[in-house]
Symmetry: C2
Subunit: 391 residues, 2 copies
């Protein structure tokens, strides 16, 4: 039985990131990605996160400390990344009532084991304080210190679960270093399920640069291929590996919210299921499993939620249909703020963002503006799934 | 103005492969993939095609010439791969009136430059003779000798275009070795467009094994990840690279049929378009282009066709919607025969294949059985697009 909604027609952003100031300071101190670096003549420091951005970083660094490189690597670290007032301004501009903010990639994945635990405590406490300063408008997904010893990760989960505005954790696809199908990760996933903390699964590592070819490596296509294809494919592979390893069966109360409408999962689920049914070894395994193997579709409909960050109503409809009967209740609006700002930067970033409009128009296009389906995706679903009733 | 249909409610298979006997002999002579190898105790020789199958091949070879390996690499090379009568039996069993057969991957991509041209002539002549032996039931997509000098490739296109049952060419994603966005490939693409030979684009190379993680490498997931995710992602990357390089603008009469409903392209098109609009360099380029940059959607709707090999009506609907107004006219049924046979092999392979049923049920589910939309996807579209009116 669904809980009654706290309010009708709330707009909720489930996919929205921040780097608290102490996280920026960590990035500024680093010599390898992820890092923050300033270049002369550039208004903002540059935030360099991805393997695909390393060639441009190397070119920029080799142009000497005083020269302005012709192509700046990464993206500008604008005031949108660390400023809470800017987040609230963005929410007001776009009519967003509630945001569930999360640390942006690559989270704490790169920290040494000894500092990861204390950093997680500090970052999650920061997020908690931000939320407490604006009660009812902000919730957060906590970050986990996955490079730390298991005990420290479990402590961090307990710490996060006790923070009043925490509504889940944000996780990348690397797990403890070997992916989310790693049996050693199971105790962590069980602890999250027991604490009723869903995982917001988000990509970062993409695909090896080589798959995008020499012209991409030479910079001809900007960031398009790693972001537009590498990211969603990474998510798709990660979840499919979890499925094949039986993780969803092993932790049936685990709930996951998949970034970017599941990557390509709604579109490829049929092919994945067919490839399993037609694989000699796996098909036999599936038929002898007890209880019987659930299909990919069943797991999608029982343990998975999808955000609506897909920029088209074609994709959004597929995401909703993949989630089955009542699938509209499993899909939730998001913005990916502060990424994908209007091109040109500056004052334009204080106005309406086209990237946000593309996603809200997709919801209108798929459901019709103001329909119950649209209102659910725009916020009602998130209010219920993440219990955003105020404290 | 659409041409009148030759006949109502024909069923056409646009995605169906064969290896003629001379191609099998090439594979039998090889020491590295692709190859065909027999193992004692196994009924059929094994066909080993993919990088992902090399670990199992090495294990099998190391078990000695007389021993039966515990896990056989690749797939059985059944009579379905080279036998024309088996192809016709398969068509009759599944109510398929017409097949456009094509050489299966990896085509001639691995041949030395000197033998590629003559092999293409021989293979394409073989396909032409098979079609001539069953007029009106069989057409074919020709193979090209892409490792040969440009002149030989152009000769091969002229040869294929003159064969009466040839309706296009099948191509992988490697082009001349650097991908389909390689400027050196443009003369080949222009020659194909001038000869009115659409490209049937098909994956083979997938993604590097490492992206699937250690459990996949150890064989835990069978062939699922490279086939279910690697293949469609390869197609998606290849077409997006062509788009970004301006290939569709440079050769506006080029037409492409994308295998597996375009990989993930219908689902990711919105994200790709958004990433372009939000990429500083590319967005500026797009705004100053003359004529203005067409969106990814426009190119999909003007130069691209999709097969319906997607195994779900969720995916099929997205494919149809991605193709826009009248998009149902750009999507065409296929089987991927002789791949994905019923598990267990043997006599079962002479009956109805579940992999085929999944795809025809998806069409029924998306359109309703017997509706004009369903009849178009099941065959009417292919009859018109590929002029399958008999000779």
């Amino acid at each position: 039985m669904a809980q009654p909604r706290a309010s009708k027609a709330k707009v909720v952003d489930v996919h929205t990131h921040m780097y608290p100031p102490e996280y920026i300071r960590i990035l500024e101190s680093r010599l390898t990605i992820p890092l923050v670096r300033s270049f002369p003549g550039a208004t903002d420091p540059r935030l360099i996160l991805l393997d695909a951005e390393v060639p441009a970083l190397n070119v920029a660094l080799s142009s000497g400390p005083a020269a302005t490189p012709s192509v700046l690597p990464g993206r500008p670290l604008t005031r949108h990344f660390a400023s809470l007032s800017q987040k609230l301004h963005f929410m007001d501009t776009h009519g967003i009532d509630i945001s569930i903010v999360s640390l942006a990639n690559p989270w704490l994945d790169f920290l040494p084991p000894a500092t990861a635990g204390p950093t997680a405590t500090s970052i999650n406490t920061s997020f908690s304080s931000m939320c407490a300063a604006h009660p009812g408008r902000l919730y957060f997904f906590a970050a986990l210190p996955l490079t730390a010893p298991q005990e420290a990760i479990l402590s961090s989960i307990a710490h996060a679960a006790a923070l009043p505005y925490c509504r889940g954790v944000i996780l990348g696809t690397s797990g403890l270093g070997s992916g989310l199908d790693d049996p050693l990760l199971l105790p962590i996933l069980r602890a999250l399920a027991t604490a009723s903390l869903p995982i917001f699964l988000h990509p970062h590592y993409g695909l090896p640069n080589a798959v995008f070819g020499p012209l991409a490596a030479a910079g001809a296509y900007g960031h398009v291929l790693p972001l537009a294809i590498g990211f969603p494919v990474e998510t798709t592979i990660a979840v499919t590996r979890m499925y094949l390893a039986g993780v969803f069966d092993a932790v049936p109360s685990l709930r996951m919210l998949l970034a970017h409408s599941g990557g390509c999962l709604p579109f490829l689920a049929g092919r994945i299921e067919s490839c399993i049914v037609h694989d000699g070894h796996l098909a036999v395994l599936g038929k002898t499993a007890s209880p019987p193997r659930r299909t990919v579709w069943e797991v999608l409909r029982e343990q998975v939620y999808l955000d609506a960050v897909i920029y088209s109503n074609v994709g959004l409809k597929a995401a909703v249909q993949a989630a089955g009967e009542g699938g509209a209740g499993r899909v939730m609006f998001g913005t990916d703020h502060p990424f994908f700002p209007p091109v040109g930067g500056g004052e334009g970033e204080d106005g309406v963002w086209e990237s946000v409009e593309l996603n809200s128009l997709a919801v209108e296009g798929a459901f019709g503006a103001g329909t119950p389906g649209a209102e659910g995706v725009m916020g009602g679903n998130a209010v219920e799934v993440f219990r955003l009733f105020g404290e």
